[in-house]
Every structure is written in structure tokens, then in C-alpha cells.
């Protein structure tokens, strides 16, 4: 059974059609890429999946459960995590707290337990703290655990965003332009990292990316969007030679 099934997903912002008839079947363990020019509706697709927007039409099934109409935090706790195109860390909080916040739904104690610092609170907190630190350690961020998130260098902020997404214990990870603003060296590291976390955490991944190197390098399958429409779909090799893709990216003149 596919992990994620999207049927006829359509979304309008007022009169503007941002996404039209988007379909996707994602098998567990796949790593697929979504590419397209700016404004093609890629991020909107992520926002629709994670409940930031409610789609005008269409349905989204994750693991057999309908997602449309659910709140973002409910969707995330079902096992979908994401990162953001522009980094959205909790800038004034510590690196460790950034990750611990993402364990909100996985930490199980009620308000009274917290207010009176009952044994269950201490147990759960100790566990959550340790798991968060372990995750930071795995991603090479443990030495910065007490730093304020905004003081991290750019590449590590991207990494922390990934760590924070992983802390929610996802099965499906949505990465929104993780290579944006990175230099070639950092991009190579990022590609390694993505493939490593995929194996380590047994993840299914959807990657939005502008850097062709990244998408062509690690994705098994690619979908191309333009003005909200899916204009092509296939393996990296097929996409590279697809005339409609070249047209969308380079303009009609280039095809001639």
C-alpha cells in the first residue's frame, strides 16, 4: 500500500490557481523530487499536505488516513515532518530546546503532572532530554546543544532544522529546498546527510529543490510542476531530456 496517496489536489489563493490536479502515489522508502520554476506551487503542495492550508479540492491519504481537515500538529504527530524553504528555527531558544519542542507529541504527561513536577514528569522529561541529545549527537550538533539557535552558522541551522523534523519521529519527511543558499561543499555534505538519515531512520522523503545537482543526484523519481500543473514525471534521465521541462525552465526560445 502506498504510504502517501494524493488525488486531484487543487488549491486556489483567491482567483489564483496555485496547484491544479496534483496526484501522487508514494511507496514506503521512496525518495522523490519535486522541481519547477519559482511560483510553480511546490511549497503549496507541502503546505497542503501538512495542513497549513486546506485544499480547495482533492484528498490526501497518509497510511490510509485522511489528512484534509486535520490540524497541522495532528498531521505531524501521525508521522509527517517537514523543513522550511527559509529557515524557521526558534531563533532565541537553545539548540537543544529546538529539538525538544519537536518532541511535544511524543512526550506523554498532562498539565497537572507538569505543574507539580510529579515523578512521571521527571521520568518523561529525562527520556525526552536524552533522546533529543542523542539525535543532536547523531547529527553532529551535540557540542552546540546549549547555543542559541540563531548563533549557529548557516549550514548548521539547516542541519538543526532537519534534526528538529526528525525529533517528531516521522515516517515521511518533506524537505523544502534544503540546499538553498549553500555552497558546493555544503551541498555535497547535505546530499550525503539526506541519504544517511534516510537509511538510519527508515524514511520516505519528498524533496523540493532548485539545485539540479541534488535532485538528479539522489532522487529516484521526479515530478515537475509549472504554474501549478504537473508537466512531467519520471526518472532523472527522462526528466533531463523532456522538452516540456526544458521549456519551462529555459523558455520556449531555447527549445528551438
Amino acid at each position: 500500500m502506498p504510504l502517501l496517496q494524493i488525488r486531484g489536489l487543487t488549491h486556489y489563493f483567491g482567483g489564483l490557481r496555485a496547484v491544479h490536479d496534483f496526484n501522487l502515489d508514494l511507496e514506503p522508502g521512496e525518495l522523490i523530487g519535486i522541481i519547477g520554476p519559482n511560483g510553480a506551487g511546490k511549497t503549496t503542495v507541502f503546505n497542503l499536505i501538512t495542513g497549513v492550508y486546506r485544499p480547495t479540492e482533492g484528498e490526501i491519504l497518509f497510511n490510509g488516513h485522511h489528512l484534509v481537515g486535520k490540524r497541522s500538529d495532528q498531521i505531524v504527530s501521525m508521522g509527517i515532518a517537514r523543513t522550511f524553504q527559509t529557515i524557521r528555527l526558534f531563533r532565541d531558544l537553545s539548540v537543544l530546546d529546538n529539538v525538544r519542542i519537536a518532541r511535544f507529541a511524543r512526550t506523554r504527561y498532562g498539565v497537572p503532572v507538569a505543574l507539580f513536577r510529579l515523578p512521571k514528569y521527571l521520568r518523561e522529561e529525562a527520556k525526552s532530554q536524552e533522546q533529543a541529545l542523542e539525535l543532536l549527537d547523531l547529527l553532529g550538533l551535540a557540542d552546540q546543544a546549549n547555543w542559541v539557535a540563531s548563533s549557529l552558522p548557516y549550514g548548521l541551522q539547516r542541519r538543526l532544522e532537519i534534526a528538529r523534523a526528525l525529533a517528531t519521529e516521522p515516517r515521511l519527511l518533506l524537505l523544502d529546498e534544503p540546499a538553498a543558499g549553500m555552497n558546493p561543499g555544503e551541498i555535497a555534505e547535505l546530499m550525503e546527510l539526506i541519504q544517511w538519515i534516510r537509511r538510519r531512520f527508515d524514511l520516505t522523503i519528498i524533496l523540493i529543490e532548485h539545485q539540479m545537482r541534488v535532485v538528479m543526484g539522489i532522487c529516484e523519481r521526479i515530478k515537475v510542476l509549472d504554474f501549478g500543473e504537473t508537466i512531467a514525471e519520471g526518472t532523472p534521465a527522462e526528466i533531463q531530456n523532456n522538452p516540456r521541462v526544458i521549456e519551462a525552465y529555459l523558455g520556449e526560445e531555447a527549445v528551438v
Partner: protein, 370 residues
């Protein structure tokens, strides 16, 4: 202004440095009992205070304590959560009236007149719960919308409470409500301050507290890392209202006469001043802000009515020049739970590092990029 506020903080930490050094030289088992011992010591001093403090200074201390409770609880909403509630006095009013009704009418009517002093904590709790309940009623609809609406709703709430109290003749209407015994003492206020700070600290350093901070930082990102933002907001608001109610009950039983004007927008504004003076997102800041402001107002008594200009003016300057206040986002060490202190986290990190195998993610070249 900015320099003045940071020099207050720095001066304080410099003055306390020798004390802290002495504390740190103590062996760990002694250290563990230092805090409870100090709390107990201060309690004994508070109990004995009527024998060496005159009534005026007792009253100032009591106001300081009440204001700490008000400030710390409002800080939860305005500082930690970054919302803007301007009607804290409304919840204080609910607590004050309900607690007073308990001690003046309900308990005596149940034939418990002699026991009223012992039932005082119960009356306060009932007042607090009533305030918390009204907090819930306000929070549920206002947090459906985002941002500035809370300011408008709480502003309206404060006015509604005042008008209702003015128009219900049974509880005195505009004339006010009286007949309370003078039950609030320095010791009682001290106990409630300790309880308030303890519970708020527990909340702040829990899952819910971190969720609260994440809402201030970026609400959408918070919900996208699984924080149930609605639940967190409502919880925080109800807890804050509860403690405002407790403060109201204490207030009513020291001045022994309350009227709707005691809980006007001016009272709410004063609380805002103390929050932003002391520092947002800091319990230590709330203690400092409430203490400094309360004592300052007492010292400015010769200015008479003009001293009420100081508060709002201070608020304007604070918001412009130093919106984070004296302690903004910092905390006194003793208010941080032991397991949250940086050195404890570092130790845990080393333990994890030893335990784990070599399977670590591909390294990042730190600071390589622009």
C-alpha cells in the same frame, strides 16, 4: 535607559557573586538542602516580621508579594507566549470578589465563622479557580483568531468586569464590598509567592512551557513540529488567570475593602509595566520588576496623583527603548531546575557520546559558508 536596566542586572549579579562563589564551594549534599533551608528561613522571618516591622512596611512587603504573583503570571502570557493580554486586573477582580464573598458570607453562613482564618487558603483557591474558569471562557474563543485580537478581547473583558461589578448591587455596586478580616499577612503572601513561582517554573520548563516559547518564536513552525498550539495557549492563559485570582484574594484581605475601581485598566497597565520592566520570559525578572516598581511607587508618594503618570510613561519608554526589560529571556540560576542547567546537559552529552557506536551522520564543516 537601556544602560540603566543592564547596569541594574549587572550590579545585582556582581553584588551576589561572592555569595554564589561561597555556595558553589559547598559540597553537593549541602547544596541540595540550601534552597529549602533558605526558603524555610525566609518563612520564619516572614512569620516574625510583625514583631520588627511597622504596619506600613508590612503592607509594602505584602504589595510587593501580590505584585510578584500578578507579574509572574501575566509574564506567562505576554512574555513567554508573546501574546498581548491587557486585562489581568479583570481576573484579579474575580478572585478578589469571590474570595471575599467566601470569607464574609459563605463560610460564616455555614457556621464556620471562627474558622475563617484557617479557611482563608481555601477561599483564595476558590477565588483562583473562579478566575481560572473565566480565563478559560475568554481563552477558548479568543485563541481561535490570531495575534492582536487577544488584546482587544482582554481590554473588553476588563471593562465588562468593572461594569458588572458596578451594577450588581448585592455585592455593593460602585460602593464596593467590605467586611473582610485582615487575613493577608507577610507570611501568607510569602507562601503564595513561593507556590506561584514554583508552579510557574515547573510549567515553564515543561513540554508546555517550551511549547509556549515556540508559539512566541514562530507559531506556524510550532504547530508543524507537533505542538498543539491551541491546547498550550489555553492552558497558559488559564494558569495565568488562576494566579491573578489568587493575587486578587490576597489583595482583598489586606485592604479589607474592594471596589470596582481597584481593578480598572490602570491596574492592568501597572502589571504590564512590571512585566516589561522586569523582563519578558523571565520569572526572576518578574520578581525584580514587581519589587522595583512597587517600592518606587512608595518612594514617590510625595508626588501624590502625579505618580500614576510614572507607570504608563515608564511603559512607553520601555516598549521603545528596551522591550525586553532588565532580565529579558534570562533567568536566575536558582530558578532553573537542576536538570536544565548547561553543565548537566554537557555531562549527559558526554555520557551519550561514550555509549554510542561510530554510526554518526556525515559531518558538517562548521562555519564554512556565508
Amino acid at each position: 535607559m537601556t544602560q540603566l536596566l543592564s547596569s541594574i542586572r549587572n550590579g545585582l549579579s556582581r553584588t551576589l557573586a561572592p555569595l554564589r562563589a561561597a555556595y558553589e564551594s559547598l559540597p553537593v549534599p549541602v547544596r541540595r538542602w540550601t534552597m529549602p533551608a533558605l526558603l524555610l528561613l525566609f518563612f520564619v522571618i516572614a512569620l516574625l516580621s510583625p514583631s520588627f516591622l511597622n504596619l506600613y512596611w508590612q503592607q509594602v512587603l505584602i504589595y510587593v508579594g501580590i505584585n510578584i504573583i500578578l507579574t509572574a503570571s501575566l509574564n506567562l502570557v505576554n512574555g513567554y507566549m508573546g501574546e498581548f493580554s491587557v486585562g489581568h486586573a479583570g481576573f484579579m477582580a474575580v478572585g478578589a470578589y469571590v474570595a471575599s464573598i467566601m470569607t464574609v458570607w459563605v463560610f460564616p453562613r455555614w457556621g464556620l465563622r471562627e474558622y475563617v482564618p484557617y479557611l482563608f487558603p481555601l477561599a483564595l483557591l476558590i477565588g483562583g479557580l473562579a478566575a481560572g474558569l473565566t480565563g478559560l471562557i475568554i481563552a477558548v474563543p479568543s485563541f481561535r483568531t490570531r495575534g492582536d485580537y487577544l488584546a482587544i478581547v482582554t481590554l473588553a473583558w476588563n471593562m465588562i468586569v468593572k461594569s458588572v461589578l458596578e451594577n450588581v448591587d448585592a455585592i455593593g455596586g460602585p460602593r464596593g464590598f467590605m467586611g473582610m478580616q485582615k487575613l493577608t499577612s507577610v507570611a501568607w503572601v510569602y507562601v503564595w509567592v513561593v507556590i506561584t513561582i514554583f508552579i510557574l517554573r515547573n510549567l515553564v520548563y515543561s513540554n508546555f512551557g517550551r511549547g509556549t516559547l515556540s508559539i512566541r518564536e514562530d507559531e506556524i513552525a510550532a504547530s508543524l513540529v507537533s505542538v498543539d498550539t491551541r491546547k498550550v495557549k489555553i492552558t497558559v492563559f488559564v494558569v495565568a488567570s488562576f494566579f491573578a485570582g489568587i493575587a486578587g484574594g490576597l489583595f482583598a484581605h489586606i485592604i479589607q475593602f474592594i471596589n470596582p475601581r481597584s481593578f480598572s485598566i490602570l491596574k492592568s497597565t501597572e502589571t504590564l509595566v512590571m512585566v516589561y520592566l522586569g523582563g519578558i520570559g523571565s520569572l526572576g525578572g518578574s520578581i525584580l520588576g514587581a519589587t522595583i516598581y512597587t517600592v518606587l511607587l512608595e518612594l514617590l508618594r510625595p508626588l501624590q496623583v502625579w505618580r500614576w503618570v510614572i507607570g504608563p510613561l515608564l511603559l512607553v519608554f520601555l516598549m521603545i527603548f528596551r522591550p525586553r526589560g532588565i532580565m529579558g529571556m534570562r533567568e536566575w540560576r536558582f530558578l532553573i531546575p537542576p536538570e536544565e542547567r548547561p553543565e548537566v546537559i554537557d555531562a549527559l552529552k558526554e555520557r551519550i557520546r561514550k555509549k554510542r557506536g561510530p554510526a554518526v551522520a556525515p559531518a558538517a564543516s562548521v562555519g564554512a559558508s556565508e
